[in-house]
């Protein structure tokens, strides 16, 4: 079996359970909200709220460099700290944090394979105590925006057929049958997908226990839809968190050289006046 392109970005539950007190590590839980963290979390872990601490709270955007520096400083993180991220929904929001930390150049960021679910399923130790750490004076690098796609870049790629577009939402969102995941608020005016996009739902990259599928399985999954890294790849979803999960898979597990996360995603495209939209495309994806 072929190893991942960057296996160093994944840690296993066994590995982490022996290191929860390691001062060189900072364990961070990032969920859809912070309620699950309050019920019980990995000892030594802190929580980041993705809506209030990993997004600009005024305009729709990721954190500014200064905001990220403040968050990491408050969390007692230094540039040499190993940050281990985990969360619910198979690490959706942990991947969102990973993506931003890479944009701002943090060197050693890792994801707990299987996330919160696997830790709990294995009956591992949890606590309701929130640790505190001495603040630091973290200095981030200038943002590497080559990891991020903005609307004009996606429009240009569409016009020139210059990129593989990967829509990682559910088939029902992709076809336009529903405008948001079942039970969540509708955040767009139109349903469907960007013309030419391939529908490869994020969850296809995971096993039932929440861990990532093997390199060979992942390569086969994406290659089966014509996504093989031979041209730039743009991942998108509804609000950018599921697509950051796929961005992580394509960039770090498969090692594709040019992958960007279009975090504007369908909440941007599906609200644009005059934007081309495709519907009803048959969905055929690997397993």
């Amino acid at each position: 079996m072929t190893d991942y392109a960057h296996p160093e970005v994944l840690v296993e539950t066994d590995w982490l359970s022996g290191r929860v007190s390691d001062p060189a590590l900072r364990i961070v839980e990032v969920d859809v909200d912070n309620a699950a963290y309050g019920l019980g979390h990995i000892p030594g872990a802190i929580a980041w709220n993705w809506t209030t601490q990993l997004s600009d709270s005024i305009k729709r955007d990721i954190l500014s460099k200064e905001e990220l520096e403040a968050l990491l400083s408050k969390s007692g993180i230094k540039p040499e700290t190993t940050i281990v991220l985990y969360g619910d929904s198979n690490n959706w929001f942990a991947a969102w944090a990973f993506w931003q930390l890479k944009i701002y150049g943090h060197k050693d960021v890792r994801i707990l394979n299987g996330g919160r679910k696997k830790w709990l399923a294995e009956g591992r130790e949890v606590t309701d105590e929130t640790p505190s750490f001495s603040p630091t004076q973290y200095k981030a690098q200038e943002p590497n925006l080559s990891l991020r796609a903005f609307l004009p870049q996606v429009q240009d790629a569409l016009r020139k057929n210059a990129a593989a577009l990967v829509d990682v939402r559910s088939p029902q969102e992709f076809t336009g049958e529903i405008l948001a995941p079942p039970g969540l608020p509708e955040t767009c005016q139109r349903g469907g997908h960007i013309p030419g996009a391939r529908n490869i739902p994020w969850g296809k990259a995971c096993n039932d226990d929440g861990t990532f599928k093997s390199f060979d399985e992942l390569r086969s999954l994406y290659a089966g839809e014509g996504v093989d890294g031979s041209k730039p790849t743009i991942a998108y979803c509804r609000i950018g968190e599921r697509s950051s999960h796929t961005w992580f898979v394509l960039s770090y597990l498969l090692g594709f050289p040019n992958v960007v996360n279009y975090d504007g995603s369908w909440t941007e495209w599906g609200n644009l006046v005059g934007a081309p939209v495709e519907r009803r495309t048959a969905v055929v994806t690997g397993t």
């Binding site: 859809v32 699950a36 929904s89 009956g123 529903i178 079942p182 969540l184």
Partner: protein, 73 residues
Amino acid sequence: MRSEQFQERQIELDGWPVKLISYRIGTKYICQADNVSPGACLARFSADSAEEAESQALSKARHLLSKTKRRAI
């Protein structure tokens, strides 16, 4: 303290597939309801019994799912 009695099962709630994730931490029973596709959390409750936690999670999930419209395509 450890997580105990972790279990997952899939049900259908008003026509939508839903995954129920249940476990116990200390004296609290926790139940989370996710939509199966794409896997987003709809509701999470903790209570003194597994039945109560599940009942509350199901109630909120059903309420949220009732707002989702299917469109002809």
